[in-house]
Symmetry: C3
Subunit: 380 residues, 3 copies
């Protein structure tokens, strides 16, 4: 999308590019160097090439006094400005001097780019999965989202799915607004969706509900997370791109799947959000939970008991005694009876799992067992 | 109903009759004797007349190692088999020997029999009360249900009732299925119902809700039990014949009234569920609570305040001061005011009792007092 | 309204007037004197002029043994009777004597009078505010209600209001019944209402909900009180004139605003409910909370976000950064975002305040700020 394009109330901004940036002392030594960390430059800084005193420089420097070894991440999207972000400890060590200050950047008409993966399913109804890509040099927020969504793309591409999947890798806010403004037809096909962000830290999984609060996606995630340590938060019009998907004109059933809540950990938006801050286990766990959620969405149909008057006789169909201990057998038999009892065409499998507080997979297996035995059918 | 008749997904089984059964040792002494306790025989055992070693016999013997003096109660309805149930202590005392094993039973085409009492009321709408009769040699489960339902039949036959009453004494599962399959018109007239079982043990009264969960019967029982120690359980598709009445094709407003939950006490389905396990007080208390529940159902109408604009003047009708202490008077006056206030034609007496948390009888008396004074009428 | 007029089920009673009343001993000394306290006479006493023994007098004397220095307040509206109320200590000091007993009262056809203030607003829909006036010589119950309603009349008369206001100063029960019976058209215009009583004691503010339980007035008061120590009670058909307004034929959205619940403090309906029992702070606090409630009612509209697709860009309208600390700014920004998010034409400001648990004024200010910026409009 070209810079200057109107997208709803917003305008696609100029494209920012940067080749080099540094501050050098009078001996020519770089005391701040973009090539050491790209966080050193205030994002969207306009070009600079000046000599100045420490005092003058200071008003353009951002540090974290409470974390003197960390570099903060700062942006200035809608005010033209320039600046450097650095470790507070190094800042304090700067001496009075005349500094050469260079930011070799361009802020010019260009394009807003985003990645889109579309995986057609058996149906045209879509599940929308998105992540932001605007500062991938930080690991949890936001490289982890990119990594997990990429893994999901790979996994989903090998599956035979009911839904079509649309996976979007976009800069935050303006990316989502641009996509929503320019894809009105795809928007109408979104049946469920999640914004993915912050999926690698060591906190437990969490979910922020859609504006609707009880959309099928909200209930499916709650069901999957119920057997894990987790947190569920109500919707609020703040956070990541759920803000746009859940604006009142769209009100899409899109929640946000995360681990620790953004801005609630001190590493957030600093150089300390690095590879050591995320764990492979957490990334894997996030991926596994998301696959489980998609499995619920892909199978959550309403079934109909074709033998609704009294119980069907399980014994003559070999369903009364299943494998396992007495306790397991009783549990599985109870699942069969619940599915038969509630499959009146009104209750979905998720409804049944919620009412019985049995795991969704147990309910799904019971339903498929009964369907195999010819006494349950999917309600068309 | 003849053996072999198809009733929904089930078939009426063969009729089992038994004259004698025993195990005798080589000295001709009966070490197990059906005439001592009919629990000694696995119910539905096919005929046997054999000699065999202790080892061979053992695989057909059921005992309760944790309760060595009790005889378990076992059945084999849908697998043709034979067996004996005995005290574990006596089983351990059996010596190596050649035993004569005799079960003089027949399993042949016959009839499924059940008892039905129909008490016509002023209206054709029915209240259905049922109990199982398949193992009456155990006292709480199930002779107590038979006893209390018989007492209810007697009591109801002397009353002038709004509803018609249908009382069914049936073998569990297949009895209820047979009745449901063969009485489609009566089924449509069922307005409320309860399965009665386990009414004599010393536990507190309990109720398992119908599948609907908030049917009038569910609310009426909860209202009656609220002033007693009690337990209320949600519906589940397991237990007694509520499983059949609440199958999705029927979904009748039928709950189950019990005391201790079946299978939760160790005497359940053993010879220890004998006359000493039940108490006359518990049987009487079960009966009294059931009568109270029926009284709620029989009187739970919607009334209409014929003076709905402002309060009617109670004083000029002699209703302001009633008999009793100040506190009692205030309580009765408040009941009058609540009934007047809520009798807009939408609220039943049960609705009023629930909202005010006053006893149903207080509300009923207030309503009838006001009706007597001409300022309340039953909403037709 | 003339004595004898039929008002619904009631009749306007005779008018009671009193000039003097006393009990004098044989030495001519007044031992009870109406001119010392008008509580000394049982209200509505018929005229008396007799000599009698202490014993005979005693059966007409009301005292409070537990509070021997207080004079009780007693009435006999619907039984013709006479009596005196006095300090228990003074009663015990009365000697055997022949007493002259005089009540110079009249109970004759006359008029029921009440005060009515009507303040026309921009709309004909009315807010009804009432207080009882039947025993103003007691301070909390009921002079405080008269005082606060008078102050509200004064304040409202200077304001430009959406609603019309009707303020009624009436004797309890019969006053409200008379007004309701004779103002059928005004009744249909009542959109919200409150009965005011007991507004000066040192207890926290309290509110008794209307019969509807979730009327806008009930929610508005709960919203205002939520940031103060308070109590909210469910409706019951007992208490002050809410009994009449909430009778089923009217079912008006009228609750009661009070401080301590009547009859729950021992000074209630005694001479101890005097000026020392109320505080200026409490009266002022009651007034302030009521003004807040009216402000909610006057502004609780549904707005519509005119930019409902994605968030509007706050920054370009100067709305992103507001005055105040970071925390305050974040709070105000969140209020803007919530109002934008929920203003889909369905949610009123009160709905938004309830969902977000933000103060109503914060939400109202956010709405008006956004309306000023042209991105929100009032839903017509």
């Amino acid at each position: 999308m070209s810079s200057g394009t109107q997208v709803f109330d917003w305008t696609v901004p100029k494209e920012w590019n940067i080749r080099d940036a540094y501050v050098a002392n009078s001996r020519g030594e770089r005391v701040i160097d973009f090539h050491e960390s790209n966080l050193h430059v205030l994002n969207y800084s306009i070009p600079v090439n000046q000599k100045m005193s420490l005092n003058e420089l200071s008003s353009h420097v951002y540090t974290l006094p409470d974390h003197p070894d960390w570099i903060p991440y700062r942006t200035s999207y809608y005010n033209e400005a320039w600046g450097f972000c650095m470790q507070h400890r190094k800042f304090l060590a700067l001496e009075e001097d005349e500094y050469e200050v260079v930011i070799d950047s361009t802020l010019e008409d260009g394009f807003l780019s985003y990645g889109e993966v579309f995986l057609p399913g058996r149906e045209s109804e879509e599940i929308l999965l998105t992540t932001h890509i605007c500062h991938p040099s930080m690991c949890n927020d936001n490289l982890s989202g990119i990594a997990v969504l990429t893994a999901l793309a790979k996994a989903l591409s090998t599956m035979d799915c009911h839904y079509s999947y649309r996976l979007l890798f976009m800069p935050g806010t303006i990316g989502a607004i641009t996509w929503l403004a320019t894809n009105p037809e795809a928007v109408t096909r979104v049946r469920h969706g999640m914004v993915l962000a912050g999926l690698g830290d060591r906190g437990s999984v969490s979910y922020k509900k859609s504006r609707r609060g009880n959309a099928e996606i909200d209930r499916a995630v709650a069901q999957v997370l119920s057997s894990h340590e987790h947190q569920i938060r109500d919707f609020s019009p703040y956070g990541y791109d759920e803000r746009q998907f859940c604006s009142p004109g769209f009100n899409l059933p899109v929640g946000r799947f995360s681990r620790s809540e953004y801005a609630q950990y001190s590493e957030y938006h600093t150089s300390a959000d690095d590879i050591s801050f995320v764990s492979a286990d957490s990334l894997g766990d996030s991926f596994a939970r998301l696959i489980e959620v998609l499995q619920v969405l892909e199978t959550n149909w309403r079934y109909r008991n074709t033998n609704p008057y009294c119980e069907p006789q399980l014994g003559k169909r070999g369903l009364y005694n299943q494998k396992g201990s007495d306790e397991v057998q009783q549990h599985l038999r109870l699942a069969l009876l619940w599915v038969l009892n509630l499959s009146d065409g009104d209750n979905s499998l998720l409804d049944i799992a919620e009412r019985t507080q049995m795991p969704y997979l147990t309910i799904l297996n019971a339903a498929e067992t009964l369907r195999g035995a010819g006494i349950l059918e999917i309600e068309s």
